[in-house]
Structure formats: C-alpha cells, structure tokens
Symmetry: D2
Subunit: 400 residues, 4 copies
C-alpha cells in the first residue's frame, strides 16, 4: 500500500523546493531583451544579489550551473601553469580542483577527509611553506554538499593574513548561500561562487560569481580570458546583452527577482536564523536516533555542520532502503549519499542526506523527520527512541 499520493517533498540538498511565487513569476511570455522592463530590473537584481552575498563589490550572473561558475571564476584568475591550493572536505572540493586541472592549473590539495571541515592549522602551514607565493588562489568550499562539513572561512582568511600570503581566497557557497551565515566582505573573500537552485530557491539554470577589486586586478593581468567566462563585460555593461554574453536567461531573472524579494522581505538574518533552528531540530532528532543502532551524523562536531544539508551514516543497505521507503510509501525524497563510496559500499547504500535549504519551514522539516522515523520503525532499523520529540523540543524552545 502506497501512502505517497499527495504532495511530494523533495528534501535533497539541491535543487530545493521551489516557492509557488517563483514558479508563478516564471510562467510568462518571453520579454523583450533589447529594451523595457527586464532591462530596467537588472540594477536592483544585482544590488539584491549582492546583499545576499554581503558584498559591496561586483556580481556577474552566468547562465549555467554550479560547475559553470566554478569554471567561470577560475577562468578569470588562473591559467595554464598557475598553481592553487585546494581545501577538500568532500566530493565538491575535489570537483572544483578537477575543473582547475582541466584548465591546466596545478592543484595542491589539502585533504581533510569526508567528515571534517578544513583544518585551518594545516592551511596556515601550507601557506607558510609556500614562500614563493606560488599559490595564486586558495579554493575553499564553505559547505561541502556531500559531507555537509562547513569550513570556517573567516579563519582561512586569517591564515592567509597571518602568513602574509597573497593568494586570492575563492569560496564556493553553492550549498550555503542564503542558508548559513556568510559575510563576503567582512570575511575577506575575494571571489565567491554560488548557484540559484539551493538557498536562492530558483530552478536550476543560473550561477553567480562575486568578486572584489583584488580579484579583478588579477583578472586584469590575465593573458586572455574566454569571452563567455570573462566577468568584466558582464559587470556594469552599457548594453544589457553583455550581462549574459548574449541572450539573457529571461524567465530565470523573473524567478530570481521574486526569490530575492522573499529573502529580503523576511530579512537575511531571519533567513539564517530559520535555517539554524531547523538544522538544530534535525540534529536533535538525528542524535537521538543515533543513541542506539547504526544511525550517525557524518559530522560529529556541531559547529562544523552545515545549516543547509546534513549527511548521515546508517550502514549498508539501510540508507538506500530508507530512501526507497520514504519515497514510495510516504512521498518524501531524501538525498543519496554522495562521495561516500568505499570498497565495502560502492553504491553508498549506507548513507543518505537531508536537504534543508531555502524554502523550508517547521512543518516541512517536522514532516521529514517524522517520516524518517516512521521508516526506521517500518524497516526495523534499530534507532534511539524519541527523535521527533527531540526536534519538537528544539523548535518549541526556540525564541519563537
């Protein structure tokens, strides 16, 4: 008997749940792309995007996904023969370095495993060892969507500063922007990349590169930047089409406009706080389930955990069984384990992830948790009792 006929809930770590208002805004005729309303909307879109990134500097919008802005950001500041230091706390740190290598860039990777954020001491050590400042940039992932580890970006900046290293600090906020606190300017981030389909609540299809003057100076010294990736013509152009190196992502811009309105109407601090409380509720449930049996949070230390995604270990084959059960029986789709494969578990069947980014509220998260708990019961997976109660206590006890 299926109990999934009803509104389904996609609780994967991106794409996230799209607000009705965003989808409605995108259900429209194509606008003129040479003059008129859409052109007039751009300055405010860019302003409001930058407010989400907490930067006074520049923003470029690319039709593309997260990988596109990985490549775009790199293409503006590094080229064949350059060297970067990559901080890897999961699949996506390696993914970004793969993009760099394919551009001919040498990558020194600091591997922090699958359960830890960047170890800032090791970062400082590596920077200090690089006397010649051969690293042109440090590539850090704020939240690695695979491991759900959150690195301390301000501390990494401090490591750069304390070692006096000149490298650019480039940060991937794809999974964290609009969810976890991020302060581009205050934290001294030179380049930041993000995409629209997670905390920004817009269907996949546009990505963002934010960069400051220091980064743009490096750009200025590049021998050549491909036209599509070049962020300069995209920034403050006289002609609208240059914003996008050609045709604009017309419908996404309307969706983005609406999503930015929602974020700023709620208030970015409130958005962060909402994600924080809901994440704490998820952790409380998870830690309770973990008291007995195989259930385990991938990231042990709470301050290292993302507020947008939570990776879980539950033992083969329980991760996959549980995902199947919640989807087929209850209408809830959980995220697969990503980048967690081992020889014993080549399909990551012992893992799953909660996505809790963007358009999420207490009734959704409580439904997700209660469904997972029901699945644990139904499948006979041993677990500590009272997970949902623990989550409820967090939410009930928050200063709501």
């Amino acid at each position: 008997m299926d109990l999934n006929q009803g509104r389904t809930y996609l609780a994967i770590p991106g794409p996230s749940v799209m607000p009705d208002a965003v989808l409605r805004a995108m259900h429209r005729a194509s606008p003129n792309i040479y003059e008129g309303e859409l052109i007039g909307m751009m300055p405010d879109i860019l302003r409001d995007l930058k407010r989400v990134a907490r930067t006074q500097h520049e923003a470029a919008i690319y039709i593309g996904n997260g990988h596109a802005v990985w490549e775009a950001s790199l293409a503006n500041v590094v080229e064949e023969g350059d060297k970067v230091l990559v901080l890897a706390s999961g699949w996506f740190g390696h993914g970004w370095s793969d993009m760099a290598r394919a551009l001919g860039v040498e990558c020194e990777v600091l591997e922090f495993g699958r359960r830890q954020p960047a170890d800032v001491a090791r970062v400082a050590e590596a920077l200090a060892a690089d006397k010649s400042h051969s690293f042109k940039a440090v590539l850090a992932v704020h939240v690695d969507t695979s491991s759900s580890a959150k690195s301390d970006i301000a501390a990494i900046r401090a490591a750069l500063d304390s070692t006096g290293h000149s490298a650019l600090l480039m940060v991937d906020c794809i999974a964290s922007l609009g969810c976890d606190r991020f302060e581009m300017d205050d934290w001294g981030v030179d380049v930041m990349v993000a995409a629209c389909q997670k905390g920004l609540m817009v269907p996949a299809g546009v990505g963002f590169v934010f960069y400051n003057d220091k980064a743009d100076r490096v750009r200025g010294e590049m021998r050549r930047v491909s036209k599509y990736w070049d962020w300069r013509p995209r920034t403050n152009p006289e002609i609208f089409a240059l914003h996008f190196c050609g045709t604009a992502p017309t419908h996404h811009l309307y969706g983005l406009r609406t999503a930015l309105d929602m974020i700023h109407e709620e208030g970015l601090e409130n958005v962060w706080k909402r994600h924080k409380i809901l994440a704490h509720a998820i952790w409380a449930a998870s830690e309770t389930w973990a008291m007995q049996g195989p259930f385990e949070l991938n990231i042990t230390e709470p301050t290292h955990r993302s507020h947008a995604v939570t990776s879980l270990r539950i033992g083969v084959p329980h991760g996959t069984s549980l995902r199947r059960w919640t989807q087929e029986t209850a209408g809830l789709t959980l995220g697969i384990g990503l980048g967690m494969a081992t020889e014993e578990d080549p399909q990551s069947d012992g893992f799953f992830r909660f996505g809790h980014m963007g358009h999420v509220n207490a009734q959704m998260i409580l439904g997700m948790l209660a469904t997972v708990q029901t699945g644990l019961v139904a499948l006979g997976i041993p677990h500590g009792v009272g997970g949902v109660d623990a989550a409820a206590a967090v939410i009930a006890g928050s200063d709501v």
Copy 2:
C-alpha cells in the same frame, strides 16, 4: 522568530490541498464552448465522476458550491408544503435543512448532537411513526464536516426498507466523496450531492448532483423546477451548453479531468485505503495526546469517525492558540472549530479540526501531527507523550 517561511500546508477540512497537476491543467486559455475538445471531454468526465460515486445512474454538474447542490438537489424533488426528515449530526445537517425550509419545505429534524452520527434506531422509529409517508425524503449527511461524525448510510437505507417507507434517501457526501467508502447504488441512495474542493481536489467552484430513476420520477411529478436547478436538461443533453444551463465552467472542467485521472489511476479502493490508514494514524496520535490533559477526539467511537476530517476538543483557549501557533510559527493552517460554540465558548476557541482529504500522503500527515505536537509543547498544553510515535507505528505497521 517565525519558522513559517516555506511551503505552507492548509490542513483545513476543505478546500483541500490542490495537486500541482490540477492547477497546471487549469492554467490555460479559454476553450471554445460551442465545439471542439471541451465538448468531447464531457462524456468521459461524467463517466469517471459516476465511478467515484459508485453509481450507474445520472450525474449533473453545477457551477456552484456545496450549498448550491444542496439547493439544486432539493429543488428537483421537493416544493412548498412538502415535508422531509433531516438527520443532524452537526452544523451541516442543520445547514441543509435551512436550505429546505427556505424553499417552503417542512423539516422534521432528528438531532443527534455534536458528537454522534445518526442513530439508526431513532431514524427507523421516526419512519415507522410516519404512517402516511409524509416525508418525501430523508436528508442525511454522510460525514458532517463540523463534528466529523460519519453516519451509516447503508443502515439508514435498511431502516427505510424495513419500514417500507417510500421517502427518497438523499445524502450529502460533500466531505466524504473520494475519501470514505461510499457506494451510491449498493447502499440504495437515491440522490447524492458533492462538491469539487475536498476529496475531488479541484479549486472550489463546481458541485455535483447524482440521482437515480426513482428520484427522477419524483422530479417528473414536480409542478415546476427552476431552470438553473433542473437536473433534467443537464443530463445527456443534445447541446453542450445545457449541461451547465449556459456557459460551462471551462477551467474547472480541465482541473476535474485531471483530478479524476489521478483518482482512477490510483484506484478508488486505494484512495479509500490511503485515507483510512492516514486517519488511523491521526487518531492514534490524538488518542495518545488525549491520555493526559484536555485533548479529546470529538467522536469517541472509531467506527463513527470520518476518514477525511477529525474534530478535536482541547479546551478554551487552546484550540485557537494552537491554530495560531502552527500557522505563524510553522506554516501549518488547521481548521477552526465549527458549530461547536457554547455559551462558555462562543468563538469555539476550545476546538480545532484536522482536514485530511484528497491530496494527502504520509509525509504531509506526519508533518501535520509533528507540528501540532510541537505546538502543544511550545504552548505548554498538557498532553500525553508519544503522539507522533503512535502515528508512526500505524503507518509503519500498515500493510504497505
């Protein structure tokens, strides 16, 4: 701090949650109403509607709400001076009799209070006492949305049969159709009324009258029936416009087409079973909460409870406080108490209702229950511990 910024959940007993597919089907240009696709869709719409009502007889669609089909059904079979027997287990039984009275019909009301379905013995008694067969019809509400009492329609038919009474059996299935098992023909129902915005999952705006040959014979003997309410021209007309006594409810028909497809694709028996299991989960949680403190199910006897709506008693002012809390803090809107006012509680602040009709699945219902439990904690309303666990046990233990 609000945690309601996310997808909201309207868990009131109608209108219910509209499926995306239904809304999408309604987002379209107006069709031609004189020839073409829409005209061609009608026979199958009527066939599939009748399959939901479990009848081989006739169906008429009215642009209107539940009150409209209350009046429509009456207008075809009773007139000034006629007399009907009304079975009242809540607000809506009285509502239907008010419609009848305004048509000049005399109503004898059997009052069963606010916590019981129709008492069939009393019905039989009243019918037996009506030697002259002065009751032209018995008006029964299958599920009264206010009390959530479900009456035994087959037993009421048996009472008519055993007393040999000739009255029509007219049943209001507005809250139950597509949720609770209902067998129009097998149970000997002569006239049944329903509306689209509950189990049928279509935005409010159309209602239905189903009737059999016996009812139509009574219609045939009427001195006069108003053109808008007359069901005869609406049934099997040669001209499409007669189906609706004028312009068709164009967009609703597209929504209804999609909703009927969803129901029959799932299978009506499965739809009923899904509602049943989810209702049992709700009751399990509610009965657990009721073990301590003021929480109480309005209908004590499980077999008297609806599978589509559940009325709850929680003491003044907890009903209203809880509703406010879940809406403002968590994004969940619960139903108000209806028809429950007393001198001590003129605003029904001690009541609320769960709607669980139509497009509902396990993750939604578990989210609703976990949110309510969280609210009970947050507001310090005493309650038995383990409500969500009890609901989870029901769902986990169902033959899924």
Copy 3:
C-alpha cells in the same frame, strides 16, 4: 497544409481571451476560507466591482454563470404569479424570459426581431397600456450577444419615468460590462446582472447581481427567497462564508482581483474607448467587405451596435466554412451564429460572430480581421476589397 500551429486566438463572444496575469493569479494553493488574506480582500473587490458597474449600491457575487445570475436576480424580486415585461432583441432576451417563466412568472415579450435593439417607443407604449402596473419589472438586455444589438438603457428608463411606471428596470450586461459604456446609477437601473468571463476577463464561473435600494425593497416584500439566490445575506455579511452562501470561489476571487486591477489601472473610460475604437475598426472592415457579395453586418445602424460583439451574415454555408477555415488554417476561432436559425438555414451556417471583449488590443483585432479577409479570398467568397485597409485607417486615425 495547416498554418494554425502557434498561439491560437479564441475570438468568440465569451469566454474571452484570459490575461496571463489573471491565469497566473489563479495558479495557487487554496487559501484559508475562515480567516486571513482572502477575507481581507473582499471589501476592495466589491468596491472595485461596483466601480465597473458605476453604482454606489450593492453587489452580490454568485458562483455560477450568466444563467445563474439571471435566475438569482429574478428570484429576489419576482415569484409565481408575477408579471414582467421582456424586451427581446435576440436569443438572450428570450433566454432570460424562459428563466422567469420557469419560476412561474408571466412574461410579456416585446419582440424586436434579430436585427434591432429595443424600440423605446414600443416599450413606452406597453408601459402606458399597463395602467394597473402589473409589470413588476422590465427585463432588458443591454447587448444581446446573439444579435449584437445594443439597446438604449437610459431611454428605457426615460420611458418608465415618463409613463410613471413603477416596474423595476433590470438589465443584463453580461456581454457589455467592461466593454460598452454602462452607467447603472446615472441611467436609473435597479438591478443589473453580469458574469466574469467576458469583459471582466476571468475564466467562467462567477456572476454578479448589482441592485439598488428600490430593488431591495421589492426583495423585502417577497414571500420567500431561496437561500442560494437570496442577495441579502450575501451583501455586507458579518461572516465571510455568507458572501457566497458557503464555500467561496477561492481561485476566481484571485483572478477577479487581478482583472479589476487591470481595468482600473487602465481606467474604465479608457477601457470603453479602446473597445469603441476597435469596434469601429471591425465595422469599417466589415462594411467594406459588405460592399460586394453576401457579407453583411447584422445590425445596420452603428449606434445600435455593441462594442463587444459583432454578428455577421454571410450566407449559407459561408459562415461555417469561414469559421472552419480560420480555425484549421490560421489558428483563429470565430463565434458561431446563435439564435439565427431559419428553416432554410437550420444550423445558422450563414452566420458568424466576432467577439472583441475584454483583453483585446489593436494587434489582435487586426490579426482577426486580416485572417478573415484571407479566408474570404481562400474560399472564394465574394467581398468588397480593402477591409483591413479600412480598419487600419480607423485605428491609425484614432486620437492615439
């Protein structure tokens, strides 16, 4: 070869072309119907509706179509044995009187044929002859959608006044509201009915009854009014649900809100002027085509013509052939002839109608006319040359 793959244009006299903004507003979750946003929207919706009707008096909204409000309006002021005077300039005048007759009301019909508006002299004569004031109401259709005849409502009021007749003046503005100038209060109209799917640009499903104090006094003297039709509880009720005698037409109200915003943003005078100029363009084309061959405007005298619908005579079987050609070849759907059947032309194959109501602009109307002209050429139907040029001249020469 079909050339109809593209955006289709439904140019029938209702339902009309729905604005994207209206459809978008209706693509949404069901709202709470007990408290919150929707309830808060009602006063302004009613205010803005009354501004379209040009009345300071009352408005009641019914879930229903035009026939529903025909019946609703009658049900509040006439009953069995009453008598009304009906002015018929086409199918719909007779339709309204049929509704009245089915309520037991005696109808004296002044028949003006299919090509003329109400002849006010004959109306005055009939009123003068009714010394006993047996007519409780005069039923007039402002624009008869079948003939496209527009009657002079102010003159009919003058006839009532000059004869000192006490009858209510009831007017059907279903086809004209929001298209042709109509001044309910200034013209002394007591009851007016309209529906949403024409000039008001909302998918079929709600209708309106506007009434003044005099009409309400008549209502007050009625022996009984059915609950669904009674306009009193619907007007200024304390409880939202009374507005609609039950569940509100939730999604239609959002659509209506948007449509009213569009109308008042443009300005009602501008809306009327737009319809006027476009109608003149249509007439100019039609009169040109009529110079040679069978083409003929149904209403000869321009001041008698509607600005929202134009009925045309083109000879059997050209009406049907032309409609088929424009739909299958070009993506344009024209209105059928309605109420024009004769013995020689039982299917009205010699007629068709242009709908030009609501969401229409110059590019749409010019496309409609150019397509029809192309069809005339393609089908070899003799016609005067230069129809589109004549329409262009009107539009180009308007004080745009």
Copy 4:
C-alpha cells in the same frame, strides 16, 4: 489613446513566443536529479533533438545561451594558435569569430557585407588558396539574425569537398533550427550549434552542440578541453549529472520535452513548410510596401532570405518610430535593427526586424503585418498600398 491593453505579441527574432504547453510543463516542482523520471527522459530528449537537427551523430546540451555554445563548440576543436575561416553575413558571423579570437584562435574573415549570404565562390577560392590546410574549421552562420541572410550550407560543403579541404564545417543554426530546412548529415556539417529560445520554443537557457565522428576525432587530438565545455563527458554518460557537467537544467528539460513533442507531432517537414509560407506572406507584404517610399527588404534575393527572421530598411527615424508605435499603440513588439549602424544612423533607427520563428501561425503573422501597415499609415510613412492583401493572397493561395 493606447490600444495595447490586451495580449501582447513579441515578434522579435528571439526569444520567440513561448507555447502555453511549454510554460505549463515548466511550472512544476524540482525533480530528483539522481534517479527517477527526469533521468529516464534523457535518451528520448536527445533522440528527438537529433531528429530536429537531422543527424544520426551526437548531441550535447549545455546550460547556456547561443554564445555559450559558440564557445563550447570552438573549445572542443580549436585552441590557441589554430586558425579558422569565418564567413560573415552580419553581426553574428563576427560575433562567433570574436569568441574564437578570445580563445587565441586566428580568424580569417570573409566579409560578405550586411545584405548577402556567404558567396560560395569566394569561400572556394579561400579554401583553394589555403594549400597547407591551415584552416582547422570553417565557421558559417546558417541564418544571420541581424541581416536575415541565409547561406547555402550544402554549397559550402561542396566547396570544401571540391577543394579537398580538411577543415571542419561548423554551422550556427541558432536562428534557423526548427524553422528553415537544415540537414546536418546530408549536408555534411561536422559541428552545429543551436539554442532553445527561437525555433525550439523554450525560454532562453539551454544551448546545443551537435557533432559528428570527424569532429570528435579532432576533439580527441586536442591538448586540453575545459571540463565545462568538453562535449565528451556530456555524450552518452553513465551518470546523469555528466550530461550537464553538474546540476541539470531541470525545468528547461521539461519545457524542451514538450516543445520537441509539438515539433514532431506536427512533423518537421510541416514545420518547415509553415515557416516557408508565412515567410513568403511577410515578403509579399514587404515587397508591396516597398513599391513606394523608403521601405526595403534587407535581403533582395528571395532564395537568400531566412524563413525565421526578416530584416527591413525603412530610413531614419522610421524604424524606431514604427517600433514604438506598434508597441505602445497596438501591443506588438518588433525587433530592433542589429548590426546595421552607420555613421549617419548610429542607433540603427532606420531598421527593424520581424521575428517569425517557432510558435507562429497565420493569424499571428497577419496581425503583425496588419499592425505594421496601420503604423505606416498612422505615422505617414510613404509605402506601397496593399501589403496585407498581398500577404493574404500568399496564405490563401498556399496548398492549404
């Protein structure tokens, strides 16, 4: 007085008019991107895309616009130091070569002006002169959207063959795919690029690169290809995410699925024929207007004209005046002149363009033409009489 309140018509040469069905398909929740429906849809999407391109070879989909696939296609086969021959018949030929140059590629540009397609004799000459086969590719634009010149791709292939030149033939079909006949395999095209927002009727946001074995062999010999642009991982990958180098353009894929269904349901040959007849109608009108006054088709020779876009010359300031008039007065937005600036006309005020690509039918095109003719009259721009009549004759006389 504005007559633009109604359905607007964006008749620019891309983005084009989006079908309601496409927009409806995109109005949906995000799908799972790791397993399920979306993953299952990909093989058929690629198959049906290749059917539109008339190729048995490979297709890669990029989140991006036309410029993105310009860069993507180049990045797979040329690198710094390589040389290409560019055939320029307008702005977009130069645009593509600018993308190449920014990759460090040397471009020899054959300039054919703004009013002629590629002169194949000159192409053959250039190829013959390149004894060393230094041109690694020939870049040709099938239809240049700025000039509306259509080049003879098969003849260019013949020039390559007859000179025995080894260069790849790379063709930009952004403006022509799904409008003008194009036969990738039969015409011997090695690489073809297109985007979704024109003949493919999907909101801007995805582009396509089609390539054959010869092109892929060249790809195989590249020293390095950036990960985002590399077409190899995108083609027949084992993991869905590789199709898009990361997150899929979820909603666009649903839109694309619907658009491909529409195209193949109509039949590609029928789609081409529809565009051909409508283009001929536009030319007939334009040639008529051109008989007197400044109106002129940019491309004189009919066989050199696109069936998707038509560039027009009308003299300063008539182009801009006309565009403003049709938009503000009639709701029709025409395309601006692009790449036509001269010293005397720096803003291209003497030009405009008709877009007639994708979701267009006879009623739309006739409306566009009649509106333009009306504008010519309104603005007093001298023009030959009878343009719409001439267009009507083409459509009426087509073998419909």
